[in-house]
């Protein structure tokens, strides 16, 4: 029976992403739970559809036929060991992992390409420093494109100084150098403002270093954690020698990998990993995550 169809597991949470088992068989059938079907698919179920129902582990599964299919992309589960996930979760979910409120924390990510506009008062050297880092990240992280634009109306990311025009009204009362991210109900970031106080970050080196630190944080509303060496951009301590460490890149790559659902709560993230790892262990197959367009 196991070889006749692929088990389609869908976690019908807030996320629109779905999961399905990955197999090398040329012909496969895709199932989803009835509950998840109602949340995601608009096509009403017919009598024929009900005849194709399968019951698995107390769930009624609906066979997905071509007429029901929605546009999207199926990506196999990306396995990660628990030690990596410990640091990833602390940063991406801003979680210390010690209480139940942590479980409701969500991860946030950019869906559209990032287009950065620098205000005129940002020096050429600083712009170059930021864009060098941005290009390094962009070239190594799939699904994350970053570029510079010359017109503010073409941008979704503005970098400016305290005495400049106020590009983001929500930052007008900020007294410290910081960023503000705007996200939608699917936890997709669509706009960002970064603002630097030059009274304290008074020269180019201090401004550049602060901007680079904030820039990496804005790629996923990441929290700087106290587990990592200070050279890491994800560490909560300063270093004059910050660099994209192998762990930094792995965190960013994983954050933008579609081998797990995006924009979920920590609780959903944990459940998905548990399920995917259990299916991998028991059936030696990878669940697929189906991401709707």
């Amino acid at each position: 029976m196991k070889n006749l169809f692929t088990l389609f597991i869908l976690f019908g949470f807030i996320s629109i992403s779905q999961a399905q088992e990955h197999t090398t068989e040329s012909s496969r059938k895709i199932y989803t739970s009835l509950k998840a079907y109602k949340l995601t698919y608009k096509t009403p179920l017919t009598k024929q559809d009900t005849l194709n129902f399968v019951v698995r582990e107390h769930d009624t599964l609906v066979l997905i036929t071509p007429k029901m299919s929605r546009n999207g992309k199926s990506v196999p589960y990306e396995y990660k060991d628990k030690s990596f996930l410990k640091y990833y979760k602390k940063s991406a979910f801003r979680s210390s992992g010690v209480d139940s409120t942590d479980q409701r924390q969500v991860m946030r990510y950019w869906k559209d390409p990032i287009k950065i506009f620098f205000s005129e008062s940002i020096s050429r050297k600083t712009r170059k420093d930021i864009m060098t880092l941005a290009k390094e990240i962009s070239s190594q992280v799939d699904s994350l494109q970053i570029s510079e634009v010359k017109k503010v109306e073409e941008s979704n990311y503005v970098v400016y100084l305290f005495d400049d025009y106020e590009y983001d009204s929500l930052m007008k009362n900020y007294t410290n150098s910081d960023y503000y991210l705007h996200w939608n109900t699917r936890n997709q970031i669509y706009r960002c403002g970064v603002k630097i106080d030059t009274k304290i970050f008074y020269n180019q080196a201090l401004i550049s270093n602060k901007l680079k630190e904030l820039f990496v944080s804005t790629l996923g509303h990441f929290y700087a954690i106290n587990d990592l060496g200070c050279e890491s951009y994800f560490a909560n301590c300063y270093s004059e020698n910050k660099q994209l460490t192998s762990l930094d890149l792995e965190i960013l790559k994983y954050h933008y990998s579609y081998g797990i659902c995006k924009g979920t709560t920590l609780q959903d993230f944990e459940v998905q990993h548990e399920k995917a790892k259990s299916v991998l262990k028991e059936h030696n197959v990878l669940i697929n995550f189906f991401h709707l367009d």
Binding site: D81, S83, F84, Y87, K199, I200, F201, Y202, N203, Q204, A205, L206, K210, A224, N226, D227, L228, G229, C230, E231, S232, A235, N236, C237, Y238, E240, T245, S246, L247, E250
Partner: protein
């Protein structure tokens, strides 16, 4: 039977406190890449990535000798140090002060309109600090603004480092306050470490150049750890409210810095952590 239970509990307490007898236990060591290091302790925690293996950097061998009272002439030196850093030593203090350190060399740029004799006296003061070779505290000057991370800035606007509604006991107290006519602001990371700062001084608020020098010395010293100034020891201490602008730096003041910069802590150190370190230092003897 009751005695046995008490004895059993005693052993549990003793052994659990010994199990904690390590610097690392005040916070997990930070993970960093140690490439091609065959001596790394691979039996410990490690993190496998696609191309690298990361190990926690252990600081268990940290020398805590500087926390032994015998090293200081004042037998209450470590008690004073705690007051200078944490201000309140009681449980549930009204304000929680934290231990803050510079984690990078301090490179000072002084504005050109600060009088030359003030600049010279201040540089002389810094060189005396440097002569004592305080571990992990490196201070130098630069003539290039862009190379600095500590700006001593002369301002035309009167500055005060307190709220305008703050009430002093007398006008004399207000005028003598360290934050009348001068302020400092430090750039702090998420780990209570400083890596930049601006000290502003309004020259017109001071009657003589000596007054300016005195203020610069005191405020700069304070900014090395956000120290709490009070009437410590004698008036020749930089931390005394009536500091006499002494030519020499008091041993007490140097010892505060020696204790403060003997170790750059990997994690935040709260008062309870510091007290644990004091206990462990005794055990290391």
């Amino acid at each position: 039977m009751r005695k046995l239970i008490v004895l059993f509990c005693f052993f549990i307490v003793v052994f659990s406190s010994f199990a904690q007898n390590k610097y690392d236990s005040i916070g997990e060591p930070r993970i960093q890449v140690i490439k091609n290091d065959k001596t790394a302790d691979i039996s410990g925690r490690f993190l496998v990535l696609e191309n690298d293996i990361l190990y926690p950097y252990s600081n268990n061998s940290a020398d805590l000798n500087f926390l032994l009272p015998d090293n200081y002439d004042y037998n209450r030196m470590l008690g004073y140090y705690q007051r200078v850093v944490y201000c309140y030593l009681t449980d549930n203090p009204p304000i929680v002060y934290q231990l803050m350190q510079w984690s990078v060399p301090i490179v000072i740029y002084m504005d050109k309109d600060i009088p030359k004799d003030v600049q010279d006296d201040f540089k002389n003061f810094i060189s005396k600090l440097q002569m004592d070779n305080i571990k992990h505290l490196d201070i130098s000057f630069t003539k290039r603004f862009k190379n600095s991370n500590y700006h001593i800035k002369s301002t035309e606007t009167a500055v005060n480092g307190y709220d305008k509604n703050y009430e002093f006991d007398s006008e004399e107290d207000r005028l003598n306050d360290l934050l009348t006519g001068s302020t400092y602001k430090l750039v702090t990371d998420g780990n209570n470490k400083f890596y930049g700062g601006v000290l502003q001084i309004h020259l017109k608020s001071f009657q003589t150049n000596d007054d300016v020098t005195k203020r610069l010395k005191q405020l700069f010293y304070k900014s090395l750890g956000n120290f709490v100034a009070d009437n410590y020891i004698e008036t020749n201490s930089l931390l005394h409210n009536d500091y006499d602008n002494s030519a020499e730096i008091l041993d007490f003041d140097l010892n505060i810095l020696k204790i403060h910069y003997s170790l750059i802590y990997d994690q935040r150190i709260y008062l309870a952590d510091f007290r644990n370190l004091l206990t462990w230092a005794q055990r290391q003897k």
